[in-house]
């Protein structure tokens, strides 16, 4: 029996193993770096001591333990989760809408979420000292609901004779974004002293987050990624064109809405915890596609990993580049992402 060509799927495991290895290495490195620099072996030991089956005698201070386990690691995990969620959502949006500018925010989720967050900040920070306590829980909830509300708005607006045309979806996204954006601007204008808080939230940040924030995202991450991975082959079929997919027996409308809703759930969940972080969901899928090709069975898992690593390093830079204060993470993702993207674009164009 001659060996059958199995296209790219053969080179799939090595790439993923390599990325997983780099991911672990990045976690270790990122936990070491910070205002208090920790030695490599100590960091490794503290991390390992928390895993089952490893019994390491603590030879470190309580402060070091706290820095690693309570301050840095949750933030590292959060960066990984958010990066993975945004770039896998980006892959699915680009796959369904087949538009190079598609990113997780294209259906208005970001503005909806910002609107929800602003509403939460305005309503709850007034209520005396209970305010901060309340807004800690209400803010993620409100922005999550805001994101989903704007998605529902876009889907309803774009529906015509039971179908969602992809160009109409994008235009509906623009309409909803400008409308909610106007409301948002109005709210910021009348907000007074909370203005800074709202604007800061909109820039996105992973500072001062804890394990509870990580725990909040894990279920969305698992359900969302699993669902999307199971759709990888169907996303390939859809990239042939919607009509071709219908001729192959796919219920394209159902599949399209299902994938868009799941991508939006991932995005809304991520945004509700860390605010709006741009560029990850746009450039990571493009970058990975240029390297591994259009097959979603490879593109999706690789983008998920690359997105996680990319955001982890962006956040590490954001918190360490300036000694005195943090840089908004969106600034880093754009600074790193845009030139790299420009380079890939040029290279891709020259190759024709």
């Amino acid at each position: 029996m001659e060996s059958r060509p199995r296209s790219r799927s053969k080179m799939n495991p090595p790439i993923i193993l390599l990325l997983l290895f780099f991911l672990l290495f990045s976690i270790l490195l990122s936990v070491m770096i910070g205002s208090v620099r920790l030695p490599f072996d100590l960091t490794g030991k503290i991390l390992l001591s928390h895993l089952p089956f490893f019994h390491i005698e603590p030879a470190w201070t309580q402060a070091q333990e706290t820095i690693v386990w309570q301050l840095r690691l949750p933030r590292v995990c959060l960066a990984l989760l958010v990066g993975a969620m945004l770039s896998s959502a980006g892959v699915s949006f680009q796959g369904i809408l087949r538009n190079p500018l598609a990113d997780p925010y294209i259906l208005g989720i970001s503005v909806g979420a910002a609107f929800g967050a602003a509403a939460s900040i305005l309503f709850f920070s007034h209520t005396a000292y209970m305010g901060h306590f309340l807004s800690r829980f209400s803010l993620p909830l409100f922005s999550f609901l805001g994101g989903l509300l704007s998605l529902a708005f876009v889907l309803t607006l774009a529906k015509h004779e039971g179908q969602h045309d992809r160009e109409t979806l994008i235009l509906a996204g623009v309409v909803v974004q400008s409308l909610i954006g106007a409301f948002l601007s109005f709210m910021i204008a009348v907000s007074g002293q909370q203005m800074q808080e709202i604007v800061f939230w909109m820039m996105g940040s992973l500072a001062n987050r804890s394990w509870s924030d990580v725990a909040l995202l894990v279920p969305y991450f698992i359900i969302g990624i699993l669902y999307l991975l199971l759709q990888a082959r169907d996303l390939n079929i859809i990239s042939l064109g919607e009509r071709a997919a219908m001729h192959l027996g796919m219920n394209v409308e159902k599949k399209k809405v299902g994938i868009l809703v799941m991508g939006s759930l991932l995005t809304s969940a991520a945004v509700s915890v860390v605010g709006i972080i741009g560029f990850v969901g746009l450039i990571v899928p493009h970058l990975v596609r240029l390297v591994v090709g259009p097959d979603h069975r490879v593109l999706l898992p690789v983008s998920t990993l690359v997105g996680a690593i990319f955001l982890l390093w962006s956040d590490t830079l954001a918190r360490t580049l300036l000694a005195s204060r943090e840089i908004p993470i969106g600034v880093i993702t754009a600074f790193v992402g845009a030139p790299f993207f420009a380079y890939l674009l040029k290279r891709g164009l020259r190759r024709g």
């Binding site: 059958r4 390939n236 009509r243």
Partner: protein, 259 residues
């Protein structure tokens, strides 16, 4: 029993009637051509016949059953459709694109089995695409891409193959190449082939039966000798043409005359 029975089908886009009272039949094993000027409703008709939408009135029976009773998957196992242009020029390999034709036969999440791989290999070899199976379709020419599409339709193992203007963007060499492959495929599998054609000469050479559409209505349908009639065609296409007999094949052919 006819393979396809179309009975009094009507459809409107807004106020505009695209299909009006269309009735005809296609027998199993026919090569059936649909001709007519631009905007006569050819594409709309085959979209209705391939189940992309349900016409507002009338009935389409496929193998004696109403088309709307078929599930999407059932329909895809019965009908394959080749569109005007080849596959979207994405950097998928030829083999990856062709393998997608097995989609209606795969169980959810199951990969390609031995039979699927054998099928794909046979089709690729028949269409002489085997050597270029690892090439990306975005660097292929339009003619080669159309062959890739044909291969994808063939691995779908259809009982009916619908081709929507398969030769529109091709040079004459590739036009004949695609049509000859279709004819061989027809001979070997005795399936039903339905094609929309712009080129009356190709229609005359390859189709045993024809349907002539004009402004959403059936002008005539029947054998090629009946339908390829000078005066009717001149009237429908609003241009003068001269009918001749093909010197070697003996089928009706047409010359265009400038005014």
């Amino acid at each position: 029993m006819s393979e396809f029975s179309i009975w009094k089908v009507c459809h409107h886009f807004g106020d505009f009637p695209v299909l009006q009272d269309i009735s005809f039949e296609i027998e199993k094993g026919d090569i059936f051509g649909i001709i007519g000027p631009n905007g006569s409703g050819k594409s709309t008709l085959i979209r209705a016949m391939s189940g992309l939408f349900t016409p507002q009135s009338g009935e389409i029976l496929l193998q004696g059953r109403s088309l709307s009773q078929f599930s999407k998957k059932e329909l895809a196992r019965c009908i394959a459709v080749l569109e005007q242009e080849g596959p979207t020029p994405l950097p998928f390999t030829v083999e990856q694109i062709v393998a997608m034709g097995r989609y209606p036969w795969l169980r959810p999440l199951a990969g390609l089995g031995e039979h699927d791989h054998q099928m794909i290999e046979n089709v690729l070899k028949t269409l002489k695409l085997w050597e270029m199976r690892h090439q990306k379709v975005n660097i292929l020419s339009g003619g080669q891409r159309q062959l890739v599409s044909l291969a994808r339709a063939m691995v779908q193992e259809p009982q009916i193959l619908i081709l929507d203007e398969p030769t529109t963007y091709l040079d004459i060499g590739h036009q004949i190449l695609v049509m000859e492959h279709v004819r061989h495929y027809h001979l070997e599998n005795n399936l039903t082939i339905i094609m929309v054609l712009h080129d009356l000469n190709l229609a005359g050479q390859y189709c045993q039966k024809l349907l002539l559409l004009d402004q959403g209505k059936v002008k005539t349908w029947g054998t090629r000798e009946d339908v390829l009639e000078e005066h009717t065609l001149a009237q429908v296409y609003k241009t003068d043409l001269i009918k001749i007999k093909h010197p070697t094949l003996g089928v009706p052919q047409f010359l265009l005359t400038s005014r």
